[in-house]
Symmetry: C2
Subunit: 716 residues, 2 copies
């Protein structure tokens, strides 16, 4: 279609939609409308409406590159191409076994009138939101360049409620604050005081994505990005007078925000929108904007449930990652067999065998072992280029013996590569580390990036490190190894492309239960709306011992039953039962839910959701007629409404319902629970009480006959 | 020995050597005397005398660490230990097959009176000079720390003549200036204007090591360092009023000069001294201060002579490293087979075969091929993390076919890994790159680091990069690969420890003959006193075509015969015959010397030497009764005196003498040569005329009988 015809098409659109302006496309269902034009300055501008409500007002787009060269003005539209696409695809693992991708696309080709500089913007409008990215076409006069600033504006229509954490180039582990945009400035200084292992807070009023917003008139808006590859992670500058958010790319330490080559594209900027919060959680927009799976063989990628030598390091019981009290060990030179062990090393062969036994007895797939390898005596990174060996075990950790022992019981051991952020040294050891894993039967690794980074030019979320994480994942795929990265840049759906990137942390997880600032009761009702928008989180739930103060530490943030519900409400294809063996042995009844719950799903139904308040989700286990429901609430007790219409029609099912005890309360009586079985059909609706920061967890199986139903309560 | 006895010992020394002070040790031959003490501020101070002349006046030692913490004052001597050692060792390759190491050692253990901070200084005094290093003992209260400054002073006794290049954290390729110390400041600005691919000149009056100095009273002093490992390269601040040099470590871009852990040691600071310049060149002090070879099998390490597809890229003939004119190629994505070749790619299969044929016909071991791999279209680095593939050849370079072809002719192909200083990406590809080499029959690689560095926190000579170069060499050793690194930090004898580090460039080499600023006639008479003090240089001599202006470029700096002499005067276990095949075919007679000359030696004799003026060296080929002599001069013609007393007694030898033609002159008639054979014995002394920037090259074999001597001139 030539330019002439397009102008006519636009004219017709203008007649039919007089409130809009410029070039307009709408979503397949017509609810979302995107407008685009170039203003008098030649700045590309766009706006977004949802059911005749303004999501984003006219906001600018573009860049400043190199030495203050404008790539955000002086443009005219050279050409526009439209497209529509609908397809279905099947993820290797996920919340659903079939995902629809249906969008209308507008590719705008811009050219600067004077410099002839070219820039393309590709918009994709789905029913659940908008994605757009910049594309830098190959052109004369521009080849490799640096980004001084990305100038993408998200001009919100009002002083929305925001669920936010401060921008920090090195951490995503801040507690989530809930406030109006205009209140952020009064809270920011205090929030930034949070004690974290590595901190590089952005200056000024800057917050992170995924950012969840709610407008007074009931719109839910989520801003994030998809397919973050070879680009810095985006934060958002907040103008709290105009409620305009502007992209703020993570710089390197020289202040450069991107090293770009023409022929490449940016990540997608994503705006997920609905007037129903459940649609935000159900959205597949970010996944749909990522590239399809690039691995040809994915048969070795397997979701799993695991236990591990981990939580004991946080509970104050004395168990440590370190093997000795030695100072000044040098990896590759120090002979650990000649050092005196201090006697409280957690990852010793005997103790790991206890975990292997426990995993085998209770049907867990794997045991994570932290503290198995040389180097923990180094205490921290940054001043040392090499902190850890990834191929040498401590003398009391028998790699081969444990491999044999675990194999004989059908259990895997999960490798642990804490790097203390010595990323460059990790790359040096990477092939040897993965060879070592293959040789010793490991097929999954938890990576860690605690502390300040080497290369010292980089932050955790800068372009170089974004490439590092993906380099590790791609190299791991060559060895058929799954990666669960902690303290890495927050996910953006890249796991669709590399599904061996099985999970990430990249947020405040369960470990903070043991730190003084703890976890707030509403935290897990927000996480799915923020951090989890980009991908699964290894949150490590399942803490049964509520009163961590017996270990001289903090108090758990929820009831015991809410911990169960998290296995459903926090999606991840790997889930840890994080508590100590002794605590699970004290509570065998609720532990049964953790043993039963699936980690991979055919279908997910978001039953109830309100960010910061509550979430109720039902999921069908992959390939099985088993369903699991999780419901959680914040610091307020509530009654969840759970319709069982996600079940197939015409059959009876037995639901095992794990509920907070009548006297349960996260602060006063967190461990109180009640378990009962009931008969349900797809007509049943359960009114389920949740205690303060409480929850409910339900496992459902088909009734095999009337026999088993006798005496059970029926839910109507 | 307790502290009491040491004080008595010192007292006796003071009586017998009244001009000295503090703790004194002398060299095995008694010519050098080192004095050490702690002054009133608690600063460690040392001085050095040679035959009753002052080499270094009392100079301070120590550091400033962390946040301005003094580690250069407040000390007292806690203990001193003395030792003496004499041994002989055999290098894997070298200028001699047997090296003596004989030194007296003094280990001073210092402790700060208030902080109890400990610092050790280890001195080793050889007949040819002094080495000392700092050692950071494991101690309470200090573990990992950063160096803000090293405060080592070299307090010279006068305004010596210096052969210097300006300090530059990214380059050693400046032309060498000759001036008094007090003249440096007037020359510095101009010298720093030199156009180089990467430049990061230090601020102020700072110069590089190896620094050659000559005093008015005839002392030759060389300052450098040995065993540079996990530490930044040292430059020298110049105080041109007091003639004090102070260590100036290469910082990273955050300004930090070292990340250090207690239990480690610094490189050795070396001062080679003599009143005979020949002793400077003959010194093995830097090698002796390096660790013995750490490779168990060295049988695969083989010195070699090579030709290559290289010089044609500099001569303006049109041959290029690139395969296409394509812009914006992306390694791993661009399909080069679909690009249109521009038709003047040097490293094409047909052309490389010509070089293989030429090498086979003329007895060369190997052919270097630059421009064989994808990525040269990227033009430069720094703005791109990945510039090159080290495993994908251009479509017109048949890796397997050339391997077969070369093997069938007994010739190796030398791999080329130009990185454009994308060091982090090179590390990512390293294992794959070396696997590729092994799979395709390569056993040596020329590495390159042109341009600015990634990681962007680093300079070519900063600590991280020092570790990088060694990481590459050590990893290469695992694959039995030899490394010839260009644009890497200048060598410090580490090749003793890792003899697969077969050579380096790290100075202004032959390529500059083709650049506008060129090479000065005295350059090669200085290099052995500066750059080569640390190790062999891949200078790539043998340029026969004197008038490069026919290629639109510069004029060669020497006569043709001087180019021959460089194969002897510039030591390297790998030597290139760098010129084009066509030029060697034009001059088959002098080319014979390059074909004959050895690259590994049993014994070396420095016959004449004066930095900046002339060098005459005789060497015996390893394991053969063949000798080679090279004599060169600067811009002045001279007569070299060559005594043949390096030859065994009682026999007659046939010397083939390659001399400048009578009308030879580097500017007017560089290609004029004369070749004749003569009979010599070990009593013979040759007075050999050298043209302006000329030379002489002599190959010597035993006479097998009187037959072959008939008609030959006899040299008395």
């Amino acid at each position: 279609m030539g330019i002439g015809k397009k102008i006519i098409a636009l004219f017709i659109l203008s007649l039919t939609l007089p409130s809009l302006w410029g070039q307009v496309i709408d979503s397949p269902d017509g609810n979302l409308k995107l407008s685009f034009d170039v203003n008098n300055n030649g700045t590309p501008i766009y706006s977004l409406d949802y059911k005749n409500k303004v999501v984003l007002k006219k906001g600018g787009m573009g860049f400043v590159i190199n030495d203050s060269q404008a790539m955000d003005a002086g443009f005219k539209v050279d050409n526009i191409q439209y497209d529509t696409k609908e397809e279905y695809w099947t993820p290797v693992w996920g919340e659903n076994n079939r995902i629809q991708s249906h969008y209308k696309e507008m590719l705008v080709q811009l050219i600067q009138k004077e410099s002839r500089l070219k820039l393309n913007i590709r918009f994709r409008l789905f029913n659940d939101g908008l994605g757009f990215r910049y594309e830098f076409p190959v052109q004369p006069g521009l080849r490799c360049f640096v980004i001084q600033d990305e100038k993408t504006e998200f001009r919100l229509a009002g002083d929305h409620t925001a669920f936010w954490i401060p921008a920090d180039y090195d951490s995503n582990e801040y507690p989530i604050s809930t406030s109006s945009l205009s209140q952020i400035s009064t809270l920011m200084d205090d929030v930034r005081k949070e004690g974290l292992a590595a901190k590089a807070p952005a200056l000024g009023l800057v917050i992170q994505t995924p950012l969840m917003l709610k407008s007074i008139d009931g719109l839910y808006i989520n801003i994030h990005e998809a397919a973050l590859v070879n680009y810095a992670a985006m934060c958002l500058n907040v103008d709290d007078k105009t409620f305009t958010l502007t992209s703020h790319l993570t710089p390197d330490k020289a202040g450069v925000k991107g090293y770009i080559q023409t022929g490449s594209v940016t990540p997608w900027r994503t705006i997920v929108v609905s007037d129903d919060a459940r649609d935000i959680l159900a959205s597949n927009l970010i996944l749909n904007l990522n590239e399809p799976c690039k691995l040809t063989d994915t048969s070795w990628i397997k979701p799993c449930k695991y236990v591990g030598v981990w939580w004991e390091y946080f509970t104050g019981g004395g168990s440590t990652w370190t093997y000795t009290d030695a100072q000044d060990v040098v990896i590759g030179e120090t002979d650990y067999t000649k050092l005196t062990p201090h006697g409280h090393h957690g990852a010793n062969t005997t103790h790991v065998k206890e975990y292997i036994d426990f995993a085998a007895e209770n049907g867990f797939d794997a045991v994570l072992v932290e503290g198995w390898n040389e180097g923990w005596e180094n205490g921290g990174g940054y001043l040392k280029e090499r902190v850890f060996s990834f191929t040498k075990a401590y003398p009391d950790f028998d790699v081969e013996g444990l491999h044999r022992y675990a194999s004989s019981k059908g259990v895997k051991i999960i490798m642990h590569h804490e790097t203390y952020s010595t990323a460059s040294d990790y790359e040096r050891q990477l092939h040897d580390a993965f060879h070592f894993m293959v040789d010793n039967g490991y097929d999954a690794v938890k990576t860690g990036y605690v502390g300040r980074l080497i290369p010292r030019s980089e932050y955790h979320d800068s372009q170089w490190m974004v490439n590092h994480y993906l380099h590790v994942v791609k190299t791991a795929a060559d060895y058929k190894i799954m990666v669960n990265s902690h303290e890495a840049v927050r996910p953006t759906g890249v796991y669709r492309t590399y599904p061996n990137w099985i999970a990430q942390e990249s947020a405040r997880g369960t470990e903070f239960e043991s730190f003084n600032d703890g976890i707030r009761p509403d935290h897990t009702t927000i996480l799915p709306f923020t951090r989890l928008m980009g991908g699964p989180m290894d949150y490590t739930p399942g803490i049964f011992e509520g009163d961590l103060s017996t270990y001289g530490s903090n108090k758990r943030s929820s009831t015991l039953v809410k911990q169960l519900a998290l296995y459903v409400t926090i999606y991840s294809p790997i889930q840890m039962a994080a508590d100590l063996i002794e605590n699970y042995k004290r509570y065998p009844e609720p532990f049964q839910f953790i043993k039963d719950v699936a980690v991979d799903w055919d279908k997910t139904d978001i039953l109830e959701a309100e960010p910061g308040d509550y979430i109720t989700i039902a999921r069908k286990a992959k390939g099985k007629n088993e369903w699991f429901v999780g419901a959680i609430t914040d610091e307020n007790a509530r009654t969840a409404t759970i319709p069982f219409d996600f079940l197939p029609d015409g059959k009876k099912y037995i639901a095992t319902i794990y509920e907070d005890g009548k006297d349960a309360d996260w602060e006063k009586n967190p461990q109180s629970y009640h378990i009962f079985k009931a008969v349900v059909t797809n007509k049943s609706v359960l009114k389920q009480k949740l205690a303060r920061s409480g929850g409910a967890a339900i496992s459902i199986v088909e009734a095999t006959g009337e026999e088993g139903l006798r005496g059970l309560k029926k839910i109507k």
